[in-house]
Amino acid sequence: MTVTESSPKGGLVVSDLGVDLTGKDIDVVDDIDLVLKPGEVVGLVGESGSGKTTVGTSLLNYSRAGAFISSGKVLLEGRDVLGMEWQEVRKIRGEEIAYVPQDPASALNPAIRIGKQIVELLQLRNIGTSESRLQGARDGLAEVGLPSDDEFLSRYAHQLSGGQVQRVALAMAFLPKPKVLVLDEPTTGLDVTTQAMVLETMAELCRTHGVSALYVTHDLAVVANIADRVAVMYAGQIVELGPRDAMFRNPAHPYTRALLDSIPHLSQARALTGIPGRTPAPGARPSGCRFHDRCAFVVDACKESVPELRPVAAEHDVRCIRAEEIGTWDISRGTVPDADPDRPREVILSVDHLNVFYGSKQVVYDVSFDLAKAEVVALVGESGSGKTTISRSVGGLHKDWTGTITFDGDELSKSARQRDAVNRKRLQYIFQNPYLSLNPRLTIEQIVKRPMELFGIAKGKEATDRVVDLLDQVALGPRMLKYQASRLSGGERQRVAIARALAAEPDVLICDEITSALDVSVQGSIVALLEGLRQQRGISMLFVTHNLALVRSIAARVEILQAGKVVEAGSVVTVMETPREEYTRNLLSKSPRID
């Protein structure tokens, strides 16, 4: 433990941190060594279940119910946070180590005005005098670029936008002048422009105050834009740790590479790939290298013992015994030509002068576009732009609209119920959240079989065989047949949802943000699956998303939406290479990118 003595002023040293489940000998995270230098932003990246949030909160000596910090030290200027009395920990939290949660809307008290909440915080931390605190609150808000007038101070949390709330949370984290900041996915769920603003504010504050920050996220692209160093976590361990540029230029761990392979680029279409298998839960993790069962470079030695985190270059550590043997990596690997903008189009679905209302409120204004056979058209926009509303109207799930939607010559009725069975069958909708879109009480077989029975495609034994076929097409085994949806992971559920849509043998799929609730590696495999379906079956897709990079890889045409209007439309290459509208340019420049 000689490292502890050399702990730099202001930074934080984590050594050998482990968190276990209470009452069981199962580790959630294990063997975490991490140094946060003063003024440095370290990105902690991992997919769901990797233990990244657990590590983040451990720095504040906090573990969620059912888990406890079982080993290790967190040294703040030589003092071990994990060994402190609770009174001391309580003082350190917020004052020296601050935490910004993922959903600040639930962290702010909805019944207390913003100004009062900040003043209360200053009171609690004994900062300033009762006269100066209000001014302190104003200064804090000004620092994060928010208005600091009385009107703003007297607002409640629900009167602010998501980005504003997040910046209030940032202001509150920075006011006590902490030395270390833990940010837990603070921009997840925000629009790209808001996200860019929050990230800018955060980076600026860290620089000016010399605060070291741990930025916990699942989004490698965000990390590529703001972090100085990056740590990649898998199954409770750090598998790779190094300076940002080295990590993205020369990732040494097979998992990091697989992650990078699954991320779409803004500059060029890619054939995205996923990682086979699923992230193991605590207790079900394989022995030896925890990634060995999903790794493309696995050898027998990988299964024997847990590899040590060892240096491969200056400040670049990797937990892989074969790091030197697996060759070099190139960021442009997997790029494919963009969709050809001049391909002849045979229109199958056209939307003309669509206006959509919620009660008396109009949310979509005069939108027209069309979709050709075996083509993917992306509807892109920020939240509130009406992209999902349009897709729901096309799918017949929202009936309060005017205009015409023509599907293969037929004019479609407003709601799915009024449409005839043929049109219902040929137009299938896939939902954003696979945790809500499958009935948890039914088995996978029942779920996938239902559309076949309903549309008279197949029955009984024949239908079961087709279900097996379909599951195979979406890369799920026949073992799943009798499972209930609640036993599947998010990615598997979304595959089942896709299989259900395919069971009706549709010509058009409406995909409503179908990958946004999923991890990037799962997104990669779902996108690969959809691309395969498009090529083999000639299915057309209306793909709703907020992710422009994803559009580049999956779509041929794109409609950029702003406040219910199409502001720019055209082939993906044209729109993304030579955007005409300021709004599009803004979206493109604010999107985080790794290429």
Binding site: R278, A284, P286, F431, L436, S437, N439, P440, R450, R500
Partner: protein
């Protein structure tokens, strides 16, 4: 454990156990279930094991002849208690069932219909809800000379229905807006099938808890009606009626009142514990 396949199958989370299974793991529920089952067995087989006949006079009124003494007519109290459970049990169980079925139907249809349907159904429901349960029953019973068991069952059921409906609507509201229900509609499923196959199966945990609670109320309600003199057969033994008949002799022969009070209380505690256990499972359930 599974080593037969070459690529190791991904670890699948264990199947979600049914609400009943999960409830069985709870002490509260198992104790409640135990008490209820014992009492039901007591009520069913009591008449076979009773030391005397139901209307057999074994001694002078309010005497201490026999294990628990005699009642106001000189019948054996223990025997009356053993005979007196069946009617309460049958009426309470069927009344509860009827109330649950009616209530769930009303609530789910209101929630799924939404808009006007919801408003109209629930406002009518509120009208019935405004009557205290026992008052509604009394109102009808005073008009009927001699109620049959079916009338009592219907009354118990109808007085429960609006209360169940409120709960069922609340639970269903959270489910009808979920994507899987919308997905079923997009496929063009019949409305009845959407309700039966998609909505109802996801409501069973809170509804089971409600059923247990309603059973408790039913027992109390049937007991109260008996006390007020309304039972299918005034000559037959009935726990509620026994309390009424023997209350004058409370100071000389308290068992005539206390014995039926105790069995009713234990029965209520049993069903209530069961309901509580299920409610706890339901709360922890889908997260």
């Amino acid at each position: 454990m599974s080593t037969e396949v070459a690529p190791p199958p991904p670890a699948i989370a264990p199947a979600e156990p049914s609400t009943f299974r999960k409830a069985l793991r709870q002490k509260r529920f198992t104790v409640g279930l135990g008490i209820t089952v014992l009492l039901v067995l007591f009520a069913i087989f009591g008449p076979l094991l009773a030391p005397y006949g139901e209307n057999e006079v074994t001694g002078p009124p309010y005497s201490d002849v026999g294990f628990l003494g005699t009642d106001y007519l000189g019948h054996d109290v223990l025997t009356r208690v053993m005979y007196g459970g069946q009617e309460i049990l049958v009426i309470a169980v069927f009344g509860t069932l009827l109330g649950m079925v009616l209530g769930i139907a009303i609530g789910v249809v209101a929630a799924y219909g939404g808009g006007w349907w919801d408003e109209v159904i629930m406002r009518l429901n509120d009208v019935v809800l405004a009557f205290p349960q026992i008052l509604l029953a009394l109102l009808v019973l005073t008009a009927i000379e001699q109620p049959t068991a079916w009338v009592l069952i219907a009354l118990v059921g109808i007085s429960h229905a609006p209360r169940v409906a409120r709960l069922a609507r609340g639970v269903a509201l959270g489910i009808v807006s979920r994507d899987f229900v919308i997905a079923a509609e997009a496929l063009g499923e019949k409305r009845s099938r959407v309700i039966l196959a998609e909505v109802l199966p996801n409501m069973n945990a809170p509804l089971l808890a409600e059923a247990g609670l309603r059973l408790t109320y039913s027992i109390a309600l049937v007991g109260s009606l008996g006390f007020l003199g309304f039972s299918a057969d005034p000559g037959a033994a009935n726990w509620g009626q026994m309390i009424q008949e023997n209350r004058l002799g409370l100071s000389t022969q308290p068992w005539g009142v206390i014995a039926p009070v105790i069995v009713i209380a234990i029965f209520c505690i049993g069903t209530n514990l069961m309901a509580d256990g299920i409610a706890q499972v339901a709360q922890r359930g889908d997260d």
